[in-house]
């Protein structure tokens, strides 16, 4: 097991793809890589394994909304085709997924996420101060 953290507080300091690159370079017999996590990490993994020509599967659970095929919020372009992560996936060939489109889509609620977080912190402070 190889663990990396951004700040080095646990395991190795750095990104997932650092040990991944080393492993792929060293072990030519690696047949498949599976990446499950934030979009940016899955995209970086896909970019890394592409140059090694190793089959890679990503799990797009994180982009689902209702997760039952009703809303279409989980649509993703895979090999040029419109797919629903919850119906057609959630596992897809990483090298066929249009991550750029997904990464932009993921930013659609940035403003709202920020205000939600601010509200949360504000309430935490009020709680700490015993005001609510």
């Amino acid at each position: 097991m190889y663990i990396t953290t951004d700040d080095g507080s646990y395991g190795r300091k750095g990104l997932v793809i650092d040990p991944l690159k080393e492993l792929l370079a060293k072990h030519k017999d690696i047949k498949e890589v599976v990446a499950i996590g934030p979009l940016i990490m899955m995209k970086a993994t896909a970019d890394t394994t592409r140059s090694f020509g190793v089959k890679t599967i990503v799990s797009l659970n994180t982009i689902m909304v209702d997760g039952m095929g009703m809303c279409g919020g989980c649509r993703v372009t895979v090999a040029g085709k419109d797919q629903f992560a919850c119906v057609d996936g959630p596992d897809f060939d990483a090298h066929q997924v249009d991550f750029n489109e997904l990464m932009k889509r993921q930013r659609r609620f940035v403003k709202e996420e920020k205000s939600s977080l601010e509200k949360y912190h504000h309430e935490c402070e009020l709680k700490k101060a015993g005001k609510i």
Partner: protein, 467 residues
């Protein structure tokens, strides 16, 4: 000899919320009849010997019977007559397309206004709610048979109701965290308040129906699991149609583009308009184009307007005449200041550098000869392209079959569009003991037809179980 009854050709109008005020709130548009108005309207009925309205009703409600009971002031009887054929009168009175069903066939409609059957049905449903009749529903002693129901929309509710009343041990499996299907997540409060649906669902609770929420069948358990190790004697599938269609034009991956289902669910079910006091956000554009002209499109565009969009627009490739929305809803949308682009089809959506929609290219259409559906086919007018300034596009083009259950149920026969095949007679599928009904069988239809199918399936299930 008594004088022949003088026929009043004008229907008693219902009061409505002022269009300007209501475009800024989610309160119900129509206030319904009060007792005096209902009595007057019921008095217009000719009580025909061969009532055509009953034939027009998908579940053949004894319409003259309940209308007569209203005119006598016996609402209790009216309620029971309705409940014999329809377990949700307060819902159907509000959302049924009466103008193409019962009311279309009313003899009075030939010379003047048809009897306002829908509004009268709603009056009785609301009266029963106000009386608290739901409280009187008693649980029925359960026998040994267990039935699982997948989904909790109108087809499932009607099926569960009849089964529970016959003493079957019923468990409803619903994918979402709330029961009710489209009645809860799709149809907005200004047409059908959620409380009305909740009271109808409460009836099922009282009857002893169990609800297992947050369970996607086909993922957490499959139909074979339900019939096998989980010990159910039969299953009813009422998962609705569900999967939204998109246009397949460039730019649909942009931010600000979403399906009407996603938009309406965020607002109606998750109450995103209260954000950040609730967790689900919704971004509403200043210039919103809703593509389509069915009920879903009208609900979406009127919702956008209520959430502050300055230009809430309908874009539809045919004309007002072909629009599939109920006439009443179209009319309400017009009153509320919705803008209409008839004979217009989107060809491309343009985005800004951050991936947000900034405009939509459309082309003008004209109506050609009729197609197989009998409607005149829209054809493009070459060179008529123009660009609309929009920052949000909502797709309300209808739905296709949700494949999750069929994919995970070996032997379940579906037609070429993926809808489940059932027997005309009892709604049984290709698998003995597995029944289906509602939109997942017919494709997108209506609340009342889904309920009719649910009841037919319940009768089929009872027979199958030997009850």
């Amino acid at each position: 000899m008594s004088e022949p009854k003088k026929v009043n050709l004008k229907r008693v109008p219902t009061k409505e919320q002022d269009p300007h005020a209501r475009a800024g709130n989610f309160n119900e548009v129509n206030y319904g009849y009060d007792a005096a108005e209902a009595k007057d309207e019921a008095g217009r009925c000719l009580f025909c010997k061969k009532p055509q309205c009953v034939i027009g009703c998908p579940v053949m409600i004894n319409i003259p019977g309940f209308v007569n009971a209203i005119s006598k002031g016996d609402y209790f009887e009216a309620y029971h007559i309705l409940m014999d054929s329809n377990v949700m009168p307060a819902v159907c009175g509000r959302v049924c397309p009466q103008e193409t069903q019962c009311e279309e066939r009313c003899i009075l409609g030939k010379k003047g206004d048809a009897v306002s059957v829908g509004k009268l049905e709603r009056f009785v449903g609301d009266w029963a709610i106000k009386q608290g009749l739901v409280k009187d529903v008693k649980p029925v002693q359960k026998g040994s048979k267990k039935v699982a129901i997948v989904g909790s929309g109108p087809s499932a509710i009607a099926c569960a109701h009849d089964l529970a009343r016959a003493g079957v041990d019923v468990t409803v499996y619903e994918a979402l965290h709330t029961a009710g299907g489209v009645l809860k997540y799709g149809i907005p409060n200004f047409r059908l308040p959620n409380e009305v649906v909740d009271i109808e669902l409460e009836k099922l609770n009282k009857l002893g129906v169990k609800f297992e929420l947050n369970k996607v069948i086909g993922r957490i358990f499959t139909i074979p699991d339900l019939l096998g190790k989980m010990g159910f004697n039969a299953v009813f599938i009422g998962t609705g149609a569900g999967t939204p269609k998109f246009m397949g034009i460039p730019g649909e991956g942009l931010n600000g583009m979403l399906s009407s289902n996603e938009f309406l669910t965020r607002v109606n079910l998750m109450e995103a308009y209260k954000f950040p006091n609730v967790d689900t956000p919704v971004v509403v554009g200043k210039k919103v184009a809703v593509v389509g002209a069915g009920n879903t499109a009208m609900d979406s565009v009127r919702t956008a307007k209520r959430l502050g969009s300055e230009h809430a627009m309908i874009v539809y490739r045919r004309t007002e005449k072909e629009a599939p929305a109920r006439i009443e809803e179209l009319h309400h949308a017009m009153e509320e200041g919705i803008e209409f682009y008839w004979l217009t089809a989107p060809v491309k959506i343009n985005g800004d550098e951050n991936g947000w929609i900034k405009s939509m290219e459309c082309i003008k259409m004209e109506l050609g000869p009729p197609d197989e559906s009998g409607r005149r086919r829209p054809v493009e007018i070459k060179g008529s392209n123009f660009t609309m300034d929009v920052d949000m596009v909502i797709c309300a083009l209808g739905t296709s079959s949700n494949p999750i259950v069929a994919q995970t149920t070996p032997g379940l026969k579906v037609n070429k569009w993926g809808y489940i095949e059932t027997s005309e007679e009892n709604q049984m599928t290709s698998i003995p003991g597995v029944f289906a009904g509602g939109d997942i069988v017919t494709g997108a239809a209506t609340v009342i037809s889904a309920m009719g199918a649910g009841r037919k399936a319940a009768a089929g299930i009872l027979k199958f179980l030997g009850i």
